[in-house]
Amino acid sequence: MNKINALIYFLAFSSGFCIMGIELLGGRILAPYFGSSVHIWGSIITVFMLSLSIGYLLGGKLSTRNPSLTKYGLIFFVASIMVVPIVLFAEPIMTFIFTHIEDSRYGSLLASTALFFIPTTILGMISPYSVRLLVTDHEKSGQVAGGLYFVSTLGSALGTIITSFYMVLAFDVNDIIKTFAAVLGALGLLAIVVSQIKTKERAVCLES
């Protein structure tokens, strides 16, 4: 496996990790305003599944237009920025919804949409885009997709368990989310930098 492919797998793993870490903390963020009944998880899981599904569609579409590692890094970078409002605006958004919607089912559904829809949609774009960057031989496309799902879902599993077992014991919810945002941003930059170096190397090769 070449280094670029390894980087793509690693990034997909990390995005899976962050998605489920954020989803898990979603329960914590909503509880003070909407309680901890089953329908809170109903709202959160619905919004995450819905935004991921839309993200897959958009990511697939985007991958048909001059796919590149730079654009791939940009997706991470944008996702990182979109995660930040969860930290900054959760309180006022939830206060507003709480005072305007009496039923905590629809309140929590609206709040999870407001907080998680955009960042999760963008994070959902990563999987199909990764497949596009990794596939070189259409006969192996299924195998590549399988490997990618394996890596990103494994990341999700680890993100869930590490966040819920250990991170909540050591850190504040907002600090964990900021860390996820920072990691996504850093990985995006890394992909962009690697992509630029590669392009230069290729240019140098062509010149000589």
């Binding site: 914590r28 509880a31 003070p32 305003y33 909407f34 309680g35 901890s36 009944s37 089953v38 709480f98 005072t99 905590s104 077992f165 909540v168 014991l169 850190f171 504040d172 919810v173 907002n174 600090d175």
Partner: protein, 296 residues
């Protein structure tokens, strides 16, 4: 080896052979069990765990309270006169609500319980009394109090009893939640919390109560059992006032098997006597791993 086996067998006998399950249902949140052991009728949330007993009642003497912590809750009456607006978070079998209603028939009592099945079982098996003054509502306690604060409602006795031996709703044990509770507490009112915290959580819980309410009182009559936290009062009642209140109420509480004199001797004021390290981390909405801390 044989002796140990016999001993184990003997220990399980009173809990297995004599108890008769008279009602069983799976609610949205848990398994609910109503068990009858001789004269004793109990509400349980889990079959396997003895700690999960929520509420019990002697069928022949329904007034008599069974659990020590329920009795200890009445130490609140040493801090307030004639409560008129009572809020109870966590219904169980409704024994607290019933007792308070009998003691103060004109008091408004609002019971808030997250699980509708618990309210139904309390009505059907534990004679939970509902009147114009005594109501119950299916809602998460945190949401109820937040809405009550918006409506500027005030309660002079707030009882927090939403924890059980197995699980603590973590959003009901944070600084922000206690601040909301404080905002619906009437002047001169009191908050009574039944807590199951042990080990590490005990310190965090104490630090959190202290952060919001200042010094508070632990009611502990038996080293091995729960404590009741009494908080939100402005000043500790004088010895004279305590005696006055004991004299006034002690006889009224005898039918409920509450010994107010005994309770008045087991109030541990935290002022100058804090039993947790000063640097203990306060639990907040941002940091509230209460259940994980409780196991440590």
């Amino acid at each position: 080896m044989f002796r140990i086996l016999m001993l184990c067998l003997l220990m399980t006998l009173p809990f297995s052979s004599l108890a008769e399950v008279i009602h069983k249902e799976r609610s949205l949140y848990r398994n609910i069990l109503v068990e009858k052991t001789g004269d004793l009728l109990c509400l349980k949330f889990n079959e396997k765990n003895r700690k999960s007993t929520q509420s019990c009642m002697y069928e022949s003497k329904p007034k008599k309270l069974v659990f020590n912590y329920t009795k200890m809750t009445f130490a609140s009456l040493l801090f307030i006169n004639d409560p008129q607006n009572v809020l109870i978070i966590g219904l169980g079998g409704g024994s607290l609500s019933n007792t308070i209603h009998e003691l103060y028939p004109s008091a408004h009592i609002e019971n808030v319980e997250i699980d509708p099945a618990v309210i139904k079982v309390a009505r059907d098996y534990f004679n939970f009394i509902e009147t114009d003054n005594v109501t119950s509502k299916v809602q998460d306690g945190r949401i109820f109090i937040k809405r009550a604060a918006l409506k500027k409602q005030k309660y002079d006795w707030i009882i927090l009893d939403a924890f059980n031996g197995d699980y603590i709703p973590e959003h009901l044990l944070t600084k922000e939640f206690f601040a909301e509770v404080k905002s619906v507490l009437a002047d001169g009112g009191i908050v009574a919390a039944n807590t199951f915290s042990s080990s590490k959580l005990y310190q965090h819980e104490s630090a959190t109560y202290f952060d919001v309410f200042g010094d508070f009182v632990n009611v502990v009559t038996d080293e091995n059992s729960n404590r009741i936290i009494l908080a939100g009062f402005e000043t500790m009642p004088s010895q004279k006032l305590l005696i006055e209140r004991v004299n006034k109420l002690a006889n009224k509480l005898i039918p409920y098997d509450v010994d107010l004199q005994l309770l008045s001797e087991h109030l541990f004021y935290t002022k100058g006597n804090q039993d947790w390290p000063a640097d203990t981390k306060v639990l907040t909405d941002q940091y509230s791993p209460a259940n994980l801390l409780n196991y440590q």
